[in-house]
């Protein structure tokens, strides 16, 4: 029992640098901002009082737990207000300004739009809503954020530091990714076209979903369809299971990136692939992310130094490696600090 409890605590509450959480917040914010920006032209047609759909009245539907700030027939003013809040909230997520509040605003707006008119949203949009829920739990504003920069200006910590925090919100995102792929595989293997290998050929022939041109040999050949259909099942299965294997993870995720870029090229599925990439980021170990950010910061510093005609590392970052606080026996969930680059306090971005 004690061993199980220790394993549970290790899995959910181990402290790690917030670099991965911060990057997930920024990437999630960018995708959400893109989503919000592209729905602006249609927001009243989809969700307004004279739109394409008269929303269900959830108060009388008997469905438990459903809520929306829009209601079944919202005024145009309310719809636009919620839309503007979504746009502003997603931008605040990107820059990390009052990150938790921004995540809450985005979450409320997305749930409200979904409940007002679910007919215009696909699985990728649903995933963005799910991601917004996880962003609400994530300490993503702890690093690489305006919030962090303001603290640094006040002299409490440095901008380029990544307080260690419990990993559980990222774990939930990781499990969500795994479950999504497993559910997708399960749903597909129930279909005859996936088992006989013709599914991709049928999917590529749905005219209104086609996006960029594909050679006829890809969309018209049954043999190629066999390969692509079985590869789809294999890749999704690998992404669902093998992503948990530390050694295989980088390769599995790279294959996943290629897979989703191909989907994005071939089909009009909106932000589906990019939403998946946000969840992929949750799998990047914090030490790897720290190293990437450190490398990026050093490159920036070098470039800055070259531009100012001073090749010495003027901001002191170029020769610094990732450093951790002396207490490597990190107590789970506490605020020990991982600094990237120059660990001196009070330095701005």
């Amino acid at each position: 029992m004690r061993k199980a409890l220790a394993s549970w605590n290790r899995f959910w509450f181990a402290a790690q640098s917030t670099s991965t959480a911060a990057v997930v917040r920024i990437a999630g914010g960018l995708v959400l901002f893109g989503w919000a920006a592209t729905i602006g032209r249609d927001v009243l047609s989809f969700f307004g009082p004279d739109g394409i759909f008269e929303g269900p009245d959830y108060k009388t539907s008997g469905l438990k737990g459903i809520w929306s700030v829009l209601g079944p027939t919202p005024s145009a003013t309310v719809v636009v207000a919620v839309y503007v809040a979504l746009l502003a909230g997603s931008m605040c997520l990107v820059v990390g300004f009052h990150s938790r509040l921004a995540a809450l605003v985005v979450f409320v707006a997305l749930v409200s739009f979904t409940r007002r008119n679910p007919l215009v949203l696909n699985s990728g949009d649903a995933l963005l809503r799910v991601i917004s829920f996880f962003l609400l739990l994530l300490p993503g504003g702890e690093a690489l954020s305006v919030d962090r920069w303001r603290r640094a200006r006040k002299g409490t910590g440095a901008f380029w530091e990544f307080p260690a925090r419990a990993v559980w919100p990222l774990r939930l995102m990781q499990i969500q990714l795994s479950v999504a792929y497993m559910a997708a595989v399960w749903a597909k293997v129930g279909g005859g076209t996936w088992r006989e290998g013709s599914a991709v050929a049928y999917a590529l022939r749905v005219g209104f979903l086609r996006r960029l041109p594909l050679p006829e040999v890809v969309s018209g050949s049954l043999l190629v369809s066999n390969v692509l259909s079985y590869a789809t099942l294999a890749i999704e299965l690998a992404l669902g299971l093998l992503v948990w294997n530390r050694r295989l993870r980088p390769r599995v995720l790279l294959v996943g990136v290629a897979f989703h870029l191909a989907i994005d090229y071939a089909f009009r599925v909106g932000f589906f692939s990019y939403a998946m990439f946000v969840l992929y980021l949750a799998f990047i170990p914090a030490d790897t992310m720290d190293a990437w950010l450190s490398g990026g910061r050093q490159r920036l510093a070098r470039r800055k130094g070259q531009r100012s005609g001073n090749n010495s590392d003027s901001d002191g970052a170029a020769d610094n490696e990732v450093s951790t606080s002396p207490d490597d026996d990190v107590p789970e969930g506490t605020g020990s600090v991982v600094a990237v680059g120059d660990p001196s306090p009070g330095r701005g971005p």
Binding site: W67, T156, A166, I175, K188, W194, L222, G335
Partner: protein
């Protein structure tokens, strides 16, 4: 209380800022128990709503229904599953104008590069409309199309919702499309009683 937990509770010297509520919860035994309970509920919601249709799903889903609805964790991963469509069904509207002319309205689409990031929502709606099974969707759709026409300075008298169906065959030319009208919405002139 274990030494470890005691050490978590202590404010570490040199810690540069005050702990958040979440951090304080993560640092206490009771807080962790609370978060763990939340994790179990979230996992339960995600897992049960991704179960294939089964007795297990029917028994477990009601317990998490409220959580799923409130948290927006509802999701469906049946993308092109169990099978992709075997025929291409396009949702259209035939608009008849007062001068006797008519026009075929199609779901708005953009270009393949940037347009694909906004038009997929219209295509999703068109896909649902093309199922042609939920009559509650027809009137608002027809009214909206009529309003767009009127706003563009045209004078529609009726909007007929229609489906164009083309069977998909692999390695052969596409078959001829079949059109099916499924709903007619007469457009009232100003001063007339609205119908439909």
């Amino acid at each position: 209380m274990s030494t470890r937990l005691r050490s978590l509770r202590a404010q570490r010297p040199g810690q540069p800022y005050n702990r958040t509520v979440q951090q304080r919860l993560e640092c206490s035994r009771a807080g962790r128990a609370l978060i763990s309970a939340g994790i179990v509920v979230i996992l339960g919601a995600v897992l049960t709503f991704n179960l294939p249709p089964s007795e297990l799903a029917r028994k477990t889903q009601p317990a998490f229904q409220r959580v799923v609805n409130a948290s927006g964790l509802d999701q469906n991963w049946s993308v092109f599953a169990p099978d992709p469509p075997r025929s291409e069904v396009d949702f259209r509207a035939r608009i008849l104008y007062r001068d006797g002319t008519e026009r075929l309205w199609e779901v708005p689409t953009g270009g393949p590069v940037l347009g694909a990031y906004w038009d997929y929502r219209w295509l999703k709606w068109g896909e649902i409309m093309s199922a042609g099974i939920d009559a509650r969707l027809w009137l608002p759709a027809a009214k909206w199309i009529a309003r767009q026409e009127t706003a563009a300075g045209r004078d529609p008298t009726s909007v007929t919702l229609t489906l164009s169906v083309v069977p998909i065959s692999i390695g052969a030319a596409a078959g001829a499309p079949t059109s099916v009208d499924f709903y007619v919405h007469p457009v009232a002139q100003a001063g007339e009683e609205p119908t439909g």
